[in-house]
């Protein structure tokens, strides 16, 4: 079967050679601009007392976590955060701290919580750089050798609360996963 296919191919090439003519194929690839996310700051509740109940880090507090997202300023992005249900003891204890996540984004090109928009839920879709005139009318120009779009950085602020019951002393931790993609 495999050998038979090879014979057909040789025959085709021979036929074309006999006909003989020049041909140009224009091959163009549109590759989206790169999209980079990085962590600027971890989230830190600092030291709390066992049994102290609800502990909060609010938007703008020193302990909030910060992500930076850099990419094509003309594009929209979809950001999805996956928080842990609990912070877990880093040692042998099985005690946990229930955790609730909130987040906000600032997409005006500067790292400023006063410009942040609080998100309801765990997913947000927004313009990487807010367009003052509102939503774009036409699709953004694809990057090419003749056109390089400007880059912009948006900031994601992670804050939230945890409920500290009567639990073992020690260090507790968790991880928030951020996934960002062009819309």
């Amino acid at each position: 079967m495999k050998r038979k296919s090879t014979l057909y191919l040789k025959a085709a090439i021979l036929l074309i050679s006999v006909l003989g003519y020049g041909q140009t194929i224009q091959f163009s690839v549109h590759v989206a601009s790169s999209l980079d996310a990085s962590k600027d700051q971890d989230m830190d509740f600092a030291t709390v007392v066992s049994g102290s109940g609800l502990q909060e880090i609010n938007l703008g507090d020193a302990g909030m976590g910060v992500f930076a997202i850099t990419g094509n300023e003309e594009m929209d992005v979809i950001v999805t955060l996956t928080p842990p249900a609990n912070l877990t003891h880093t040692g042998a204890s099985s005690d946990v701290i229930p955790f609730t996540l909130n987040f906000a984004y600032a997409n005006k090109g500067v790292n400023d919580v006063n410009q942040a928009v609080t998100v309801i839920g765990s997913t947000a879709r927004f313009q990487l750089k807010e367009r003052v005139s509102g939503p774009a009318g036409a699709p953004p120009t694809p990057p090419s050798s003749a056109y390089t779009p400007n880059q912009a950085t948006a900031y994601i602020y992670i804050f939230g609360s945890m409920n500290v019951g009567v639990i073992d002393a020690g260090s507790y931790s968790g991880t928030v996963d951020l996934s960002v993609t062009y819309d």
Partner: protein, 160 residues
């Protein structure tokens, strides 16, 4: 024979990513709750100059200082205190050496308390997370200059 010519023009080859994933860590340090509440200061009463020695028994004297510990239920706690403190007459600067003794009990019952022999000592909070300390003292009155003496007695507690 004419040759077939294929031109493939690759306008752009750009290695780029259009999605990204990153993680942020959440950190919290939890410490055990413990609090000391002074229920009564030490009261040595009136000192009679003819006496040679003053002793305030932490197990029986009503003038003993009282401190309540409040923390985690049934927790083991380490108590350390100043066994000896040099006090100073605020006018004459004469020194007065005061030796302290501490007794403790899980219940607020001085008569049933036990003297803390070691320093630091390990005690256990009761089922309500409480423990009581009585602080007594003793010092020599021989050659003591009348007046007010100041000094700091410190007591520290921590979970084991």
């Amino acid at each position: 024979m004419k040759n077939l010519i294929l031109f493939v023009l690759l306008n752009s080859i750009i290695l780029a990513q259009n999605s990204s994933d990153v993680k942020v860590n959440i950190q919290a340090t939890v410490v055990d709750y413990i609090e000391m509440i002074t229920l009564a200061d030490i009261d040595v009463g009136t000192v009679i100059p003819s006496d040679e020695f003053l002793r305030l028994d932490p197990l029986s004297d009503q003038g003993a200082g009282i401190i309540a510990l409040q923390g985690r239920q049934n927790a083991s706690v380490q108590v350390s205190f100043s066994a000896q403190v040099e006090m100073v007459n605020v006018i004459t600067d004469h020194a007065l050496t005061v030796n302290y003794a501490v007794a403790g009990n899980g219940d607020n019952d001085q008569a049933a308390a036990s003297l803390l022999i070691s320093n630091p000592a390990t005690v256990q909070l009761n089922s309500s997370g409480e423990y009581y300390l009585w602080i007594g003292c003793e010092f020599s009155l021989i050659g003591l200059v009348p007046g007010q003496y100041d000094g700091d007695f410190s007591i520290e507690v921590d979970y084991n």
